[in-house]
Subunit: 153 residues, 2 copies
Amino acid sequence: MTPVAKRKMERRKTFNDYIAKKQLKSTKQRDTIFNEFFNNYMGKHVTVEELYEDIKQNHPSIGFATVYRTLKLFKESGIASERNFGDGKARYEPIRSETEHHHHMICTECGQIVEFANMQIESCLNQVAKLNEFDVANHKLEIYGKCPRCSEG
Amino acid sequence: MTPVAKRKMERRKTFNDYIAKKQLKSTKQRDTIFNEFFNNYMGKHVTVEELYEDIKQNHPSIGFATVYRTLKLFKESGIASERNFGDGKARYEPIRSETEHHHHMICTECGQIVEFANMQIESCLNQVAKLNEFDVANHKLEIYGKCPRCSEG
DNA sequence: TTATTCTTGATATTAAATATCAATATTGTA
DNA sequence: TACAATATTGATATTTAATATCAAGAATAA
């Protein structure tokens, strides 16, 4: 099995567990949305609207509200994270691993997004939280600026 | 002069310079909003609505749209920063110093916000940006979790 | 199969952000 | 000071994303 496939399977299990724990039901729509999201949007940052438009191609009967609610469910269950890059639209991203946190550099000119991870930042963060006796659930770090191409001019 | 008053004066100069550079006009409304914002909201995170309601007390003729536009102007001119803590409302905060960046820990239970600054994180950030040849304009870091009081239960 | 409970899709509602526009204020210049 | 040019204001309308509503339909457990 490829690493990607394995990852997807792990997320599937997490999601199924969540469904079971919360006494929710598993449905065809949720399956479809899960597959679309994890097959095509790993490492991407998709809006509800975008995912809905995409899914509509092959599954015209799935409604916007279902996509919206399902992405929220993905987030609640811990298999997706919600991002907000300042354009007023929530974006969702499949979570790659339980432990690895990564962050984003966003070009304010062209919108390009570069991901990065940095162990040292993570450990500083946790130290700060510990000092304040804060029980960390998650965190986000965003750097706004100009990418190499846009800062040339 | 108190440090607070000095800070306010510096921001005023920055704002006036911006106004001049962009060929905008200085108005009584902008003065009023500037004073209210810098006198009463240093270290706070105020929404447009909140600031508008506050200002209305003593200046009932100032409209919501003006407060909204003026806060945007403060942000553009670099004397205020916009924050978004996930409740769907933009919040504005007077900038304390040109150089010091601080960040936020937000309690997801009670909404309490703890500010912190960390030199090491700043330097890591700049290093990462440098590696990617990113020209940093600003950045934000938010930690979500439970404050000591809320994590007791 | 049935009863229960959850989900779905269409649509309506809400709320924040932003656009519009006529009336008014500010600014530079004579 | 008066004038012309330009920006601002306040009220209101519009847009848009997020969310609520609800009847009909689907999943689940007994």
